[in-house]
Symmetry: none
DNA sequence: TTTT
DNA sequence: TTTT
């Protein structure tokens, strides 16, 4: 109910690979995504520079299933979650630490990146089957006072379907053995 | 379950007045807070400038009760929520709009950092009695999927449908005359 | 340099109309966008409910120009900015208040919404001419567009010094009659 | 100017130790902070559970100096920044990765809410030496402590304790053996 | 109306 | 290692 602190991460980036979805013994899904965000700037010499940051994102349950179904390599996605560093042992028995973003909210961007119908986009939040987690942002209309309604609500409609998303950077190959991420 | 879009606000500021707490017919608490954030900068003349922004924040249920109990004029607080503009009519019958931050997460600041006693500070998130809304950030160890099955729901979660969503919103009557904020 | 408080808004939504871009006497661009975010949930009766929230977003300088060039009705966009409520007088001389999101960072989603090549997407932030980094939250009164001319305009904001900051943003003339948004 | 993606972290937590401040050859300060955020919940058995997450935070220049001057073990602070994972080699020559939060905005919490004196609190953001505004998300390589001296390393540096940090940044001597964080 |  |  009460905790001390805020631990929030928000990223908008592209998947370097298709999501990896596994299932727990209890049937819950777990998805691992590798998402890239990049920033570019000019250095002192006026040279354009770019740096790509790869984020390891983990999702559970329904969110994991949705990711596995709608996201793929190259997909652009908005992720909201928290940071979590877990400890593990490598083959030599050394302690290792891997930091991941545990997602609790996801918004697929750009609709179709494979150009078809319209869909495959939307905001999904953790919404445990029993009644756990979740997020409030979208929670019911909390106080929803509205009333009339009126205009504009049509909502605007998005569009952006034809997203020919990209090759993205780096093949992102490898990620071998010992590397936690 | 799914929504399109992200609507998030994060502020850290000070209360301009003690929280105003009211109770709905159904017994739920509603709190209204006026929170200031300010920024300062130097203008071209090198003059120090400052601008204060006042935010109208609304909280419901448990969060409202906690605010009423622990916050007061001058308190520094971290608020996370969403924007919501509601329409109302002024005395002349004109449509008016007021934008508020509907909070779903609160972190009282200012614990003792000067090493003395301790006090009421901590992070509180919407955690409806029935089991609605809420936020995930703090949700149980969300990563913790494995294992059993159900668990986790402990607090964290909310479940979105069984949301006894509420009438909540209460007409929001009152708020006097003409001033929206 | 130092300010008290944090005032941050993050939304991902769709434009309800094409951006409205105007130019200040000093040549700086100002763009007004109407962006929708929506959330859906099931009420107690199990009925699917939806609520759309419309956000008024204002951008300055370079960001405004980019918005005018690449965004259109329906475009999905990520916006980061701060809340700002400005006071104005309606025709009856009554005080009115309108809350806007002053954007300092924008990320066009979904690449092409018109289906062509790949592009038209990317993250743009307020970035002073000298080419530093920037962001507005704390930045000087990023909204501060007006005034002279010159500098900083690069994009909206930053620079913390030469900001001819302002007495708030432009009168915001125009916007018709009575409706604040 | 333009980048693809958003990489943002927001935490509110307490320092586990006094900040470690070092200076680069070029005179720029670099601070390493270890900040804890915790969440609590009840497990299936109704047992109160708690999990603490430790975040490694790195700041540069002015922000680093302010942190060194005003923060200390136990201080509560709001941090906004971006995630950055740097690669380094351990003694066995294995690749290791450490994820840090490169801060570009800081708000010291805990001013007096109990009405007494006043103190060192406030929001400080990255503000390049030339005195512009700044922020890092998009900012150029904000970590890029320009100037000479091996700049950019700026970023890697830190390590707050056991970091066998890497070549990257600065000598970054010390920091023991194998543990990255 | 807060805070610095 | 913090904090509650």
């Amino acid at each position: 109910m009460a905790s001390r602190g805020v631990n929030k991460v928000i990223i908008v980036g592209n998947l370097g690979n298709d999501p990896e979805v596994r299932y727990m013994p209890n049937g819950n899904a777990v998805a691992n995504l590798s998402i890239a965000t990049s920033e570019s700037w000019k250095d002192q010499q006026g040279q354009q520079q770019e740096r790509t940051e790869w984020h390891r994102v983990t999702m559970y349950r329904r969110l994991a299933e949705i990711a596995g179904e709608y996201l793929k390599k190259g997909s652009q996605v908005f992720i909201e979650g928290k940071l979590q560093t877990r400890k593990w042992q490598d083959q030599q028995g050394n302690d290792r630490y891997t930091t991941e973003i545990i997602a609790d909210n996801m918004q697929m961007m750009g609709g179709r990146n494979d150009s078809q119908g319209q869909n495959g986009q939307g905001n999904y939040q953790q919404r445990p089957q029993n009644n756990q987690s979740v997020q409030s942002n979208q929670s019911p209309p909390s106080q929803a006072p509205q009333g009339t309604g009126g205009f504009n609500q049509g909502q605007s409609a998005p569009s952006n379907q034809p997203t020919n998303t990209p090759k993205m950077s780096e093949p992102d190959i490898d990620f071998d053995d010992d590397i936690p991420f």
